[in-house]
């Protein structure tokens, strides 16, 4: 039973990390980028390639994976978001980020293959540890660390203050001389880096597999919607809730219906509290 909950928390923390990435991109551009999950997936695949296939030292593999994540995040902003947001058209960003996410996924598929491949051990440990295995606690610790880092950054540094100013009112921030364009680009690069770290840390849990991207895009979004868009606490709670819920559900009803359970939870929360658990109610556009 405890194993089930630990498994749920571990996978839930990955969902929470994806939700944090969504949040970071959303705060500066009001765009929910479909590339989120694919960037996290890239972290795992790059890690497996650099460390598992090329036999690089772990730290070099991690750094290069993060760098690739940041580049892809930045590319998302340059290619799929910048011009669309400037044009301020209706939901065109869904299409552009969907297309870009699909390009990432297909590139990975062509370059890496269609089968899930194992991720190398990061810390020497034998496989008898059971529920204390590193593949469970590594993603949990990593996500908590990332959330703490985001919190400190937002509240303790000057750039963090600029960030939150921009997310509250872009127009006013611009009027006060905040370089909004540059901050948006920076937030996408940072989000890409964070996603890559999370995917790297959870690599042993998910394996290096291209389809993880789409799954994380959906489940990260569900975690975010459950917790409330814009709230980092909500992202953590939503992710943990979703992970434990699906783990318990597949323990009792069998593992084949995970996606059904996730979507069911989303519908339930949206019925009860449409703004999510920690979300703020938005004014109706009239």
């Amino acid at each position: 039973m405890l194993t089930v909950i630990i498994t749920g928390l571990a996978i839930g923390s990955l969902y929470a990390a994806a939700a944090l990435v969504y949040n970071l991109m959303y705060s500066s551009s009001k765009v929910l980028s479909v590339t989120t999950g694919h960037i996290c997936m890239l972290g795992g695949v790059c890690g497996a390639y650099f460390i598992g296939v090329l036999k690089w030292p772990i730290i070099a593999g991690l750094l290069l994976s993060v760098a690739i994540g940041m580049i892809v995040g930045l590319l998302t902003e340059i290619v799929a978001v910048r011009r669309i947001v400037a044009r301020s058209s209706d939901h065109l960003w869904i299409l552009s980020t969907l297309a870009f996410g699909s390009i990432i996924q297909q590139t990975t598929l062509l370059a890496w293959g269609t089968e899930p491949r194992p991720f190398p051990r990061l810390i020497p440990q034998d496989y008898s540890a059971g529920m204390w295995d590193q593949k469970f606690w590594l993603p949990i610790v990593c996500t908590l660390g990332l959330a703490a880092a985001i919190h400190l950054f937002m509240h303790r540094t000057m750039y963090g203050k600029l960030f939150s100013a921009m997310s509250q009112d872009e127009f006013a921030a611009r009027a006060r001389g905040v370089p909004t364009e540059r901050i948006r680009a920076a937030s996408y690069a940072a989000a890409g880096g964070l996603g890559s770290i999370a995917g790297f840390a959870a690599g042993q849990l998910t394996y290096a597999y291209f389809a993880v991207g789409l799954m994380l895009t959906l489940n990260g979004f569900i975690a975010l919607a459950v917790g409330g868009i814009g709230s980092n606490v909500g992202a953590l709670v939503g992710g943990a809730l979703l992970g434990v819920f699906t783990a318990l559900a597949s323990y009792y009803f069998g593992g084949e219906y995970q996606q059904t359970m996730c979507l069911g939870l989303l519908m339930l929360i949206l019925l009860i509290k449409p703004s999510g658990l920690f979300g703020t109610r938005e004014a109706r556009p009239v």
């Binding site: 919607a225 069998g254 084949e256 996606q259 556009p285």
Partner: protein, 335 residues
């Protein structure tokens, strides 16, 4: 003035008729298969076009309903021995039912939520198809029996596909031309304004979503008969994305545009083997380019070209003042 039959519409209809008959007359089995495939996809895409192109609801998960249609025929007529024609109708009804059930909660959601819910639907259907091994054959899939009688031959099946596609095209063309079409476009462009002038947005959305479920079910059934074997692998999310991309590159609020999109995108991987390998990569690339460069799709380019090189005879904008008529009107007020 030209004769109406030889006007723009007549020429278009004639060209379409020739294009439809071409695969039949050429006698090339492969060409016939590809043409049938285009027709099958088109049956789904017409319905989806009403949702995406006219109503602006971004559904990427119609492949789920498509799979339901295909498996209905496989199970209904393959396992339980129903006649395939009856199974075709049942597939449509079941697709409509599933569309309705999906539409009730999800159509209330705003853009991104709706897209994610439909994405979820396609994943759920894939999961169920693999999980319910006893009913669906699991990952190994099921054979689909062909239609009987004259419809059993490839050309018979092709004619059936064309007939169904033409019928549903006609229905949806009428939908878009009349009151419903105006309601849909108003929902797409401003749902608040639509509600203010009394468009029952929820009902319109749900009705048309159910209709699109019907077309998806029928298309799935035809697809099953065409492929003669179905596996869950076939109905991957990428196929749903393909349908969606056909419409987006075609352009919103157009029927001809998505049709061209379907034909071009289906033919693209068939032209060359190297395209087939990178097929979905190519689709995504095309989508990105269209969204960034021509957000209104190829139909806007087409419209511009037609107006440029084949302009509609404009009614004269200046009129000579008809003095005697004015004088007579002034002389007898009230008549």
């Amino acid at each position: 003035m030209t004769h109406p039959l030889f006007g723009r519409k007549g020429a278009g209809a004639l060209a379409l008729l020739v294009a439809v008959m071409l695969p039949l007359l050429s006698g090339d089995r492969y060409l016939l298969h590809v043409a049938s495939l285009i027709g099958t996809y088109w049956v789904l895409i017409i319905g989806l076009n009403l949702i995406v192109g006219y109503m602006g609801q971004l559904s990427v998960g119609h492949v789920g309903l498509f799979a339901i249609g295909a498996y209905t025929v496989a199970i209904g007529s393959g396992v339980h021995g129903l006649s395939p024609e009856l199974a075709l109708v049942i597939a449509g009804v079941l697709g409509a039912l599933c569309g309705f059930v999906l539409g009730v909660p999800s159509l209330r959601l705003p853009g991104f939520y709706f897209a994610m819910t439909t994405l979820g639907l396609s994943l759920i259907v894939g999961e169920v198809l693999v999980a319910q091994r006893d009913v669906t054959g699991g990952g190994a899939g099921l054979p689909v029996p062909g239609f009987s009688g004259p419809l059993a031959t490839p050309s018979g099946l092709y004619l059936l596909v064309v007939g169904v596609a033409a019928l549903i095209s006609l229905v949806s063309w009428n939908i878009t031309r009349l009151m419903w079409g105006r309601a849909m476009v108003s929902i797409r462009d401003s749902s608040v304004a639509a509600a203010a002038i009394g468009v029952p947005a929820g009902r319109v959305k749900l009705t048309l979503f159910t209709f699109s479920g019907f077309t998806a079910g029928v298309a799935g059934a035809l697809f099953g008969a065409l492929q003669s074997y179905v596996t869950p692998e076939t109905f991957h999310f990428d196929l749903g994305l393909f349908f969606f991309i056909c419409i987006v590159i075609g352009g919103k609020g157009s029927i001809l545009g998505p049709f061209l999109g379907t034909v071009v995108l289906t033919l693209l991987p068939e032209v060359s083997a190297s395209f087939a390998v990178v097929g979905h990569f190519l689709y995504a690339l095309v989508l990105l380019f269209v969204v960034l460069l021509v957000p209104d799709g190829i139909s806007s380019v087409l419209r511009w070209l037609i107006e440029r090189f084949w302009p509609r005879p404009n009614p004269p904008t200046h009129r000579q003042l008809d003095l005697p008529l004015l004088a007579s009107a002034l002389r007898s007020p009230g008549s």
